[in-house]
């Protein structure tokens, strides 16, 4: 057992972890951020994507102790719990969600992309979500949604 401190979705946590726990185990089993999904468990599918210090990582490939002192954003930290984040809104409007399993990871990859590159081309969007597999949608509607979200975020920026 080991105690670590980390920030998740803006809140400080001090938690006991097992040495062999992965970040995804800490998030899901210990802290119940169950929006983070485990698909392949080997870095291929991106269902377990979280944002760590501003960059997306697969939480199935990070050991929990490595997250000591880091800032993590999970899908629960996107939007404010009441209003949807513009990316989430665009996903719903464009019908980009079918079974939903890949969506938390998709939304976080989209967020990381748009935070760095507010107006990506469709190719850049495809590249940005290339580490997130979706077995349902065929990706086109997801790309449409991220494209739309980038416009929403631009408008939001202009009205602020």
């Amino acid at each position: 057992m080991k105690k670590i401190a980390l920030n998740i979705n803006g809140e400080e946590y001090v938690v006991d972890i097992n040495e062999d726990m992965r970040l995804i185990d800490l998030l899901r089993d210990k802290l119940h951020f169950t929006g983070t999904k485990e698909g392949c468990g080997e870095g291929e599918c991106g269902a377990c994507t979280v944002i760590m210090d501003g960059e997306t990582v697969n939480s199935c490939m990070v050991l929990a102790f490595q997250a000591e002192g880091r800032e993590i954003i999970t899908i629960e930290g996107v939007g404010n719990g009441e209003a949807l984040h513009p990316i989430q809104k665009a996903f719903l409007e464009e019908g980009a969600v079918q079974c939903g399993f890949c969506i938390p990871g998709m939304v976080l990859s989209a967020k990381a992309l748009l935070d760095k590159k507010p107006a990506p081309t469709r190719n850049e969007i495809r590249e940005g979500i290339s580490g997130n597999l979706c077995r349902c949608t065929g990706y086109n509607k997801i790309v449409d949604a991220i494209d739309k979200a980038s416009k929403y975020l631009k408008e939001e920026g202009e009205t602020k």
């Binding site: 992965r22 080997e42 870095g43 990070v62 050991l63 102790f65 990381a112 590249e127 580490g131």
Partner: protein, 288 residues
């Protein structure tokens, strides 16, 4: 995974002390994109894990005299965005950008790619073509070794239990020198390289090939140089004719090496095309 103790040192010396103390029972983790899989599959075991991703000095890309130095802890995302590497080192950037997916590139490090020494490691061929040298720290101090001598077999490297790869360095490219990289993968995003080729080229004043170094990935037990083909090009002009003969030679080399493998047929055919593109990129790059 039976891990009993974990450490997150912030200095190279601390990491080495830990390695020296725990020896075989310990393993270094950097990005974890190779290690976590092999620990979970039981291919490797370690009761002590030492995370080097908080060591700042391993994360720098710097220029010292006429050498470019890349820290072992530099991620591929950082390579792709490095100001110092833009344009002239496009060959390295292309290799880094071709690794995995954004999530993988955000975690995976240059040092992990080298120390894991997979036949399909994409960053090894361009570094071999640049005749890169590794700087390794241990309890007895610092030593240097050529990358080519460091990789001894598939997944095997000349690194003792109490040593840490600190950085990889190579001579700065001059105006008449260029580097090219090309990769043929299965699926764009997560393709573990099926064939990748990197070419270093030096052009003489009369537009001939003064020096060439070719390194391939996934065409042998580890990334390796193609000396027969390199020697053919030396002193020759780079025309469509010599390039055709050179790539034919490469095909023969690959064919001999891969004989009996099911992928041989496909690879020996494909390698010509992959090589020609990498060479043309190197030619273009040598004009920058």
């Amino acid at each position: 995974m039976e891990i009993n103790e974990v450490f997150k040192p912030s200095k190279v010396e601390e990491a080495i002390k830990l390695l020296d103390h725990y020896q075989e029972t310990s393993k270094i983790i950097a990005g974890g994109t190779d290690l976590i899989i092999s620990l979970r599959e039981g291919k490797e075991s370690a009761s002590v894990i030492i995370d080097i991703s908080s060591i700042k000095e391993l994360k720098e890309i710097t220029k010292r005299e006429d050498w470019i130095e890349i820290g072992a802890g530099v991620t591929f995302t950082k390579v792709v965005n490095a100001t110092m590497l833009q344009e002239k080192y496009k060959g390295l950037i292309d290799a880094a950008a071709s690794v995995g997916s954004p999530q993988i590139r955000n975690a995976a490090t240059v040092g992990g790619n080298i120390c894991n020494a997979s036949p399909a490691a994409d960053f090894i061929p361009p570094l071999l073509a640049l005749e890169a040298v590794l700087v390794i720290a241990g309890s007895n101090g610092i030593r240097e070794i050529k990358l080519n001598d460091f990789i001894t077999d598939k997944g095997k490297v000349a690194l003792s239990k109490n040593e840490l790869l600190v950085k990889v360095k190579f001579k700065e490219l001059k105006r008449n020198q260029g580097l090219g990289f090309n990769k043929l993968g299965l699926r764009k995003a997560l393709a573990i390289s099926r064939i990748c080729t990197s070419v270093y080229l030096e052009i003489s004043e009369d537009s001939k090939c003064r020096d060439m170094r070719i390194a391939n990935g996934s065409l042998g037990r580890h990334g390796l140089r193609e000396k027969v083909v390199e020697n053919y090009f030396k002193g020759k002009p780079l025309t469509s004719e010599t390039i055709e003969i050179g790539s034919q030679l490469l095909e023969e080399e690959v064919n001999n090496r891969l004989q009996g493998r099911s992928s041989a047929e496909f690879k020996r055919e494909a390698v010509k095309g992959v090589f020609t593109v990498a060479l043309n990129k190197a030619i273009e790059n040598s004009r920058l």
